[in-house]
Subunit: 502 residues, 4 copies
């Protein structure tokens, strides 16, 4: 619908998107391609321009050359792709400047004004830069390159601090120059199709909501595993570790969406209110409910896989976790006593991102003797898989066709690729589009961020204060065995480690 | 497990199966092939013989020739099929006799005794004969050909009377010669995989039971349609009509299994107790909740399809319904107010047998505006399909992948053929095996039969007394429009008539 | 309604009630007074007579003198009481005979016939005699004194055997002379108002049924305590013990009514079917889930209370339990995992008979900190009290009025005496009336009895085989401490032992 | 707990309470007595003073004389009452001034400062004045008499505007001088014991929450009736009418507390967030769901009761409603389709303030035939009564003791007066104490007020624009018959108009 609104305004207004840190990896691989995809799909307003901003000295043409290598067209509709690309690149410009130079941003402002040609101007800054210069850029951009009449918005990427204090400090500094409304904290996981679909599933299907509570759900698992390590780029990571990198944001955000109460509407504030509520109902993480690990070198199939500390950008004695598992609890009426398990790791045997909902055993089950010994195998499970490919499946018990009464577990499944053959848009497309439209639902509000940090900060501090050493696990393995013990402590079995191809 | 028990006994005992009415169609097409399949699968005891009994004068060899034409091996394991067939046929014999001749049955008894060779003998009689001679055969078989030491059981096929009185009379007569334990009233629909699976689904999956009530289920539909008419064999049918032929037994039995309370165990008596309970909780059918139809001739694609009364075996002025739809209600705490709709018909546009469970609308649905105008399309639906091929699917609402928030309905599905590539056994195999094993769960007890008739008898009598004319519908159509009005009266839309391929 | 039916028949029919064992205590204290009360209330048919039968030689007049001393009128309507009593006594007669003499019963038959004066005669025999002569009396009465045209019914009192075998044998013997329809096994506890009301509460109030399951109920307690011992009449008791005397019948019957599924109707067979179902779903009792005790002598307030073995009718070394507590479990979907605790004992500190339903803790309770330390005190509890006076109360948490937020637990209560000032009829009245009307709901069917015994028999045999000694507890105390440990094992606290006057 | 905090601070700080409009009725009858009661109960800080402020010229002593007439001690603890009163009065002072004079407030400030004697000063202004001077007083007090170091808070009483616009304007003006945190909008109904208890009941008792939804609740009624009219003081009322006076604030606030979702904590912001959520989920009121009435003169028992327009302070042709009934709906998952009925009126036959929760019929009720014809009488009902005396009762169905099976409805009840014999504090005491402690839970936040007005404003405007005439009803009657039709339209029967003393 917002496209309609833009329609009316667009003759009279312009949109300028400034990618600060334009020469970085993320900008090249994700942001420019996403902008092009939106352009290709006609989702950008009629008058728009894209500015790259960075310290390198480049001409507009050089920028265009660089980004043109990463633009792609949807596999399923390639027509006019070449033309479209050229038109898009014509709207891309570059301005070189220091990140803390108000003067350089003032120059940018002049250029923007010229392009805007007196129309109502809306300006979006995408900060694809290291966190230590966030505030500088925000200060300069806000003071020297804000739109005089239209809106000015700033997208920032994680990390949003290292703990409660640094995050609060960052927020405080940002708010010196920006209102809450202008800050768009991006978590690209929230832009994934299945994450969006999570609320649709819960709230538009009668059959899920009655089951969505401690009465029926035994545990919920949030699993994120990568099948590669830091691979020579561990410098940034080593400063944060897997808990800050994946758990405290991506997985916790998804948990909040999963577990929140029904919002009063789908408006951003209403959804974010509910997310904050559920985060505030959670018990702060304790050391005994967390397992950390770090991968070590491993030879397999004649090939040597390096350990984390073999990465030259990582200190030799680093105890930064590359794997973590945690058990969390929500102290409210819906979830009291249900373990929410999280697991995130690098250099594991499989690439996987999914939510697994394990249901309780059937009380007084008539069919118990028909299942054999492993009753855990006989409970229902709902899996929402984001990676490797998006899918939903519901494990149910079935009679095996044939004479006699033998039961097994089958899947009621929905494979997105099969059902929806069109290409699924990248998360960055959705999020950029939302930021342009002022739709804040998928961005993280300051109080959400506070609540998230307050769950993890005591743990993170204790880990660091006590210099707790991670359990080593071989590159390409299933991770540290401690994760199993942690799960077992709460009567949980990790759903992604079953014998079958679960 | 019963196979184990048979193992121990089998050296010392024999089983003889007498197919009374051996020259009929059902015997040839279903019973002998099912017996062979059981033999092929090693499900019959070591010592067994099969006797055909009918009025025609045949030799053993002639019988073998006749039935050999209909025996088949499972598609998926054809090895030794030829050998097995020969061995099976060697155990088949024939005895010619009148159906009401005690003398002839005494002769059969002699032959059986000779084959049994002094072992403990168990005897199963399968009555594949018209209902008017049921009692004669039972009398003769019981008095002259019962097993002296082992058990004697009799399988009877519908029709079990035409109404409460005739059914009660038939039961009374059977019970003069047989105890309840000896009578196996077969409803071959209860032998279908998905019907067996219905209880498994409900009672071994946590996620279904909480939804299985008036709080969540809006209506349930039991649909049976054939895409052909009586095709020259309408003589028997005309005397009964579709209500007696399909609804009062097949569909009502499935309804009872669907709606019953959890039985205390899976034992036959416990399951049948619950079925009787639910039947007794039902409101007797009233004329205003029933629509009847009869197909008429129709030309389509250059081909002429005959009407029902064009069948030469059917009286020209017959008002026997070939189609019926009905709305039933169960006055108990679980189902109060939920319409259970049934629909059965011949010469319709599609072959279909299925249960459709339509769930309620989501209360206060957040996503209402995302569905467009047709909210009924947006409710969950669980479909258990028996024909054309066995499948389970659950319709859920999903976000259509892509930018924007558009919802549609997708299927979480389980297609048996894909998941279980082995051939699904015919219903008769299961039922014969159960009768041999003394497992009564899938057979209909006298009090069940009484309860079933008492629901339908007042209606049937009123239809006949008032000579109510059926609504005519063209051969190959979707049936009389009255069925829609009946459904609409209870805010129901038939699930099998959607625009999509539902 | 049955009174209406009796109205029509009564001019033409007679009812004769023969109290066999007329000189016994129960007969005098309960049966004759109950018959008089029914007469007083106009609940007996117009033509009725009462016969006493026993071995003592008495005249009609002597019987009348004896029973006249125990007849009373309702406190609240004493008018004409004297007249009514005289009229009632005129209809009472006596016949002296041996309990195993067919001849004596034939004499009774003659007398009955004479009084019946050719009318249709219905005959009810109330067997108020020791169990060892049950079968003799039934044989004689059935063979020589059955009604030729009307019905003949026999009421028997517990004990119905000592274990599964003896009970089955008794049933087998009774059934030689009587059909199931003729046997009325009385459990006078089932005639209590609150026991009758239990089903009314559950099934006619919307608010209870949703709470009536493992999801909300933490445990259920069935408590029966007497504040006196055997007091010189322990001879009969010593042979049975408290488990057989109270638990296996009274408490188990009430448990079955409490826990059963909704019956399809209130008809006797439907209710009893459900009771059998729930009994069959129970786990047989094991030794480790039972505590037994025996009271010992105790001096209190200057008075000496005798121990059980001080009773001269009890063997000195008796290990018969006078107290027992047990934990039972129902393995069905509704009750899986919920402890059902029973406790019965003599010579305890208080007379008490009640059902206590303890509900679960509120999940994620907002008010936890407002309750202080003892959370168990803060859960809801429903109490159905039969003795000392009938009452229902529901413990709920409330804000204590006043400034500040302090919670406490108050009762929503219904005291029968206050609400219904009329006198509550004795259980025997209801049961006799039901037996006369042929209403079997409150009588115990053979299969119920079998199911009940099969739960307790293994335990009883083990107790006796291992000669397990009961824990001694002082007369007038709260019973053995083992009962607390048993409860604590399942996280239960006995509701009748709270500090307050619960 | 705040008392503890105050303890520590109190030696160093003072509290001054200025009652603006001190000569008014409310001040005399409610505010000064409530302050005294708090003092008597030791709930006020050690150093406190009370100032009266009004236009009349009074000395301190004159004020003390006036208010001394209305102070009372708790009935149950009268000791030292006289002493306490004197000590309290010594702390009361008076300052005469215009409401819009900054100068006069500056004088007040000087006096306050003198009394505060250099301690940390907290100042509470209670605005007991007409709405048209709210803003003036707030401006003067805020600018000239705010505390320099401690807090300054202002309590305002309704009316908060006449509609969305005027309310928003008032809020805007207040916020020029005060932050949200400083504004305490009082609704004295929220200070009632039973209103406080409403949340306790719901959230600290397991048994209520499962029933608290559309699945079990048929309708909810909020009833407020007075047995007297305006009695010569209708001037103010006539400008507002009953909808603004009672419904839009008192009843709607209680509805919101009743229907809100579980808050994440009991903190003021969390509770008020939930109240706003539920208000925002409501359907704006439409004319067709509202009935208005006005009382007319009536002679009864020889006495003449005047009509509303007989009140000399009311315009003769006034069409201001003195009675209104309305049906409201909440479009969320919990309450979809459940009618929430409100009824408020003056000059009715009874004084009554209560919430009535009517539960649904039992589905498939076994006992239907035992209830007679009026099934509505047989549903459960929970009544929370505020006036005439505070009580909770739950109507349940019961077997009437006696032979036969007759059911009736009894009350499980809790009468506060009986259970808690101490006097219940007045609502003003609680609210004043909360305002002093900074506890905002029971005060209305700006967004709540907005949401409340947006529900009622369209209706109020339509009523006025169309000059809709109220239905006349006699003084002392049960109100206009239209209220019954309105209820009947949604299948509701008013619970307060049953035959029995409900």
């Amino acid at each position: 619908f917002f496209i309609d609104i833009l329609d009316k305004e667009e003759a009279l207004s312009t949109l300028s998107i400034t990618v600060v840190g334009a020469s970085g990896d993320l900008a090249k691989k994700k942001i420019f391609p996403a902008l092009f995809a939106l352009y290709y799909e006609d989702c950008l307003p009629k008058n728009f321009i894209v500015f790259g901003y960075a310290r390198s000295k480049l001409t507009d043409e050089e920028l265009r050359n660089i980004i043109s290598t990463t633009l792609t067209c949807r596999i399923d509709k390639r027509e006019n792709c070449k033309d479209k690309m050229e038109q898009f690149l014509k709207r891309c410009f570059y301005h070189s400047g220091e990140y803390n130079s108000e003067e350089n941003f003032a120059e940018l402002d002049s250029k923007l004004k010229k392009k805007e040609a007196g129309k109502l101007s809306n300006r979006l800054f995408y900060l694809s830069i290291p966190p230590n210069i966030f505030v500088d850029v925000v200060r300069c951009a806000s003071m020297k390159a804000s739109s005089a009449y239209g809106w000015t918005r700033v997208i920032v990427e994680k990390p949003f601090g290292r703990d409660s204090e640094s995050s609060a400090e960052l927020t405080r500094c940002l708010k010196k120059y920006l209102t809450e409304d202008q800050i768009f904290r991006i978590d690209h996981y929230l832009g994934k199709e299945l994450v969006e679909n999570l609320s649709v599933l819960r709230f538009s299907n009668l059959i899920f909501e009655p089951l969505w509570s401690r009465n029926y759900i035994r545990n919920v698992q949030f699993i994120f595993s990568e099948d590669f390590g830091t691979e020579g780029r561990g410098g940034y990571f080593d400063n944060y570790g897997i808990i800050r990198d994946i758990m405290q944001n991506h997985l916790l955000q998804i948990l909040a969406l999963f577990a929140m109460e029904t919002p009063v509407s789908l408006d951003a504030e209403d959804v974010r209110n509910e997310k904050v509520k559920v985060l505030r109902s959670m018990k702060p993480l304790e050391l005994e409910d967390v397992i950390i690990g770090q991968y070590k070198g491993h030879n397999k199939g004649g090939r040597a896989y390096p350990g984390y500390t073999d990465d030259s950008t990582v200190p030799k004695n680093s105890i930064t976790p590359t794997f973590a598992a945690a058990a969390l609890f929500i102290n409210n009426a819906r979830w009291d006593g249900v373990p929410f398990l999280m697991k995130a790791g690098k250099a594991l045997h499989r690439k996987r991102a999914e939510i697994r909902v394990q249901f309780r055993h059937v009380p007084g089950n008539l069919y118990k003797r028909n299942f054999g010994t492993d009753l855990d195998k006989a409970t229902n499970e709902l899996v929402l898989r984001v990676q490797p490919d998006e899918a939903i499946y519901l494990k149910i018990n079935n009679k095996v066709p044939g004479l006699g009464m033998r039961l097994d577990r089958s899947d009621l499944n929905l494979l997105y690729r099969a059902r929806y053959p069109t290409e699924i848009p990248d998360a960055y497309e959705r999020l950029l589009l939302d930021a342009i439209a002022g739709e804040r639902r998928l961005f993280i509000r300051s109080d959400e961020l506070d609540a998230a940090w307050s769950l993890f900060t005591p743990l993170l501090k204790e880990l660091e204060a006590k210099k707790i050493a991670p359990e080593l696990y071989p590159y390409g393995s299933r991770g540290p065995v401690g994760a199993h013990y942690l799960a077992a402590k709460y009567n949980v079995r990790w759903g992604d480690l079953g014998g079958e191809d679960d």
